[in-house]
Amino acid sequence: MTMHEPQSQSRAAGAPQTPADVHSRPLCLSGKGVTKVFGVGGKQTLAVDHVDFAFHEGELVSIVGESGSGKTTLAKMLLGLLSVTEGEISFQGKPRDIRTRRAKKEYWKGIQAIFQDPFSSFNVFNKIDTVLLDCIHMTGGRRLPYAEKTRLMEEACSFVNLKFAELTNKYPFELSGGQMQRLMIARVFLLKPKILLADEPTSMIDACSRATILDMLLQLRDEIGMTILFITHDIGLAYYISDSVYIMEHGRFVEHGTADEVICAPKAAYTKRLIGDVPKIYEPWDLSTV
């Protein structure tokens, strides 16, 4: 057997570790009774139904659910891209204010996102230098000398194992999906937001590059102390990477707790079903429950 033993509980060096004090840290983002209703009159759809959540600083939280359970709607509300029908979202202990354009811009300095489809995340007319320079400008580095800007860009690229010299003068479509997703992380590295919202960042890239992306997210959390919200439908990924897990079904959180609590001892029937549906290696996969 060259693989690890499944029962060993000891954490190997380099494997994700949950910081011991993470649940006693101050709240970074929290919500009470957050609701989103789409449509008006008789054709209303309740996408997110009175959810409460509390994400601590430097915590890696996963939100897991099937397609259509409201994960992305919640993410868009947290980003301020969709209005909240009801409820309140607090950012760093204060109620969030994004009513004006200026307030929204300020808010986006604190929260950034990586989306599912790396191919459509970039402006096709902008070269990669422009993408990275924009980030430096956004964080107040507009008047830095060019050599300093280049140094910052090189630093960001080396953080994500890309070579800046090979990227200059290229357009985003000349990169592969994994490289583009890493470039998105390089942007985040330059912007250094308080919260990073990763909406299925690994679902469109292969299993090999996936490990690299996950490692980088963990590095962002450990080195910069970023709060990361990881949205995924793959419960195995959530188990591997996160400190806390929220399970979402039809717009509601049916279960939440630490990764070990939720995955190893699930209480809700929905969580049990989700775990049962994932193909496994050490346990038989029951196909008769479909």
Binding site: A15, C208, T212, Y239, Y240, V278
Partner: protein, 337 residues
């Protein structure tokens, strides 16, 4: 000796880029599948999995070109046929193919029933439409799809349902081999399970006689297929049964792939997820020796000298590496400790 449904010998195909450069995306691939068996093909993006699938069908459109090799489906040679002949006499009846974006393969303006008619009429222009409908209804019911699906438009179906409908349509003529190219990678786990269940049903009920399943999700392959084959840079680097490949991979690349597995099982959180550093080589000028040499942590100078042949060991398993099996096993056990 059991009946071999699909036999491929030395298949080589290339892409010609617009600068007239040759890219050998499938390089001397040989494989065999026995009746009733399924073969999984694993590998990272850009290593030739999908090109192999297209090449196996004999469906060569520029920029893809056939160079050499033999493809035998149940004793019938289909290599080197013209695309038109392939469409008439191979697709659907000998080999069926489910593309990666199967959910987008359906024309949104037509009802599902029309697609079924299209497939059957393309092979038998005199078929009776009423009989086709009855047959389609029976087949859909047998595969667990409601008959009402036939009268719907594709936009009315969910992603998982569309995927299953495409599978049902493409296997309506009882093809001998089904090639499924990442059929479930765009679906969530529950829909994925339904798709897998359907493929299993097709095998059990004898509508298909062998299956090739392409994916980069190894836990899935382990549960679905009998054998797993790992591809790297257009070549097969290792083949063995699913169990052998997951628990005892020999080639350093297979081992790298197995280490990127994530499963939600108690204790698995403790292992370090390791990615293989670097990217696959450019196939315009592939390395002379071992193609994995630049990314391999066990590389020695001899690896780069001459091409590495496939070596058989333990009776049925094959691998392509300059090191001996005993040496690799020893190195791995040392690494694990």
């Amino acid at each position: 000796m059991s009946n071999k449904i699909l036999q491929v010998k030395g298949l080589t195909t290339k892409y010609v880029t617009r600068f007239h450069e040759d890219v050998y995306a499938v390089d001397h691939v040989s494989l065999e599948i026995e009746e009733g068996k399924s073969l999984g093909i694993a590998g990272e993006s850009g290593c030739g999995k999908s090109t192999l699938a297209l090449s196996l069908m004999g469906y060569y459109f520029p920029p893809l070109h056939y160079i050499s090799g033999e493809i035998m489906v149940d004793g019938k040679n289909i290599s080197g046929m013209k695309p038109d002949d392939v469409r008439k006499s191979v697709l659907g009846t000998e080999i069926a193919y489910i593309p990666q974006a199967a959910m987008n393969a359906l024309n949104p303006t037509r009802r599902i029933r029309r697609f079924v008619e299209d497939v059957i009429l393309a092979h038998d222009p005199k078929a009776d439409k009423k009989q086709i409908s009855e047959m389609a209804e029976a087949r859909f019911a047998e595969l667990g799809l409601p008959a009402s699906v036939l009268d719907r438009h594709p936009v009315e179906l969910s992603g998982g349902m569309k995927q299953r409908t495409v599978i049902a349509i493409s296997t309506i003529l009882k093809p001998k081999v089904l090639i499924a190219d990442e059929p479930s990678s765009a679906l969530d786990v529950t829909s994925q399970k339904m798709v897998i269940k359907m493929l299993r049903d097709l095998m059990e009920k004898g509508y298909i006689r062998a299956m090739i399943f392409i994916t980069h999700e190894l836990p899935l392959l382990y549960n679905v297929t009998d054998d797993i084959m790992v591809m790297y840079a257009g070549q097969i680097v290792e083949r063995g049964t699913a169990k052998q490949m997951v628990f005892d991979p020999i080639h350093p690349y297979s081992r790298g792939l197995m280490h990127s597995i994530i499963v939600p099982e108690a204790g698995t959180r403790g292992h370090k997820l390791s990615a293989i550093p670097g990217t696959p080589p450019n196939l315009k000028n592939p390395p002379q020796g071992c193609r994995f040499a630049d990314r391999c942590q066990y590389v020695v100078p001899q690896c780069r000298v001459s091409p590495i042949p496939m070596i058989t060991f333990d009776g049925t398993r094959t691998y392509r590496c300059g090191h001996s099996v005993a040496h690799l096993r020893e190195v791995y056990s040392h690494d694990d400790a």
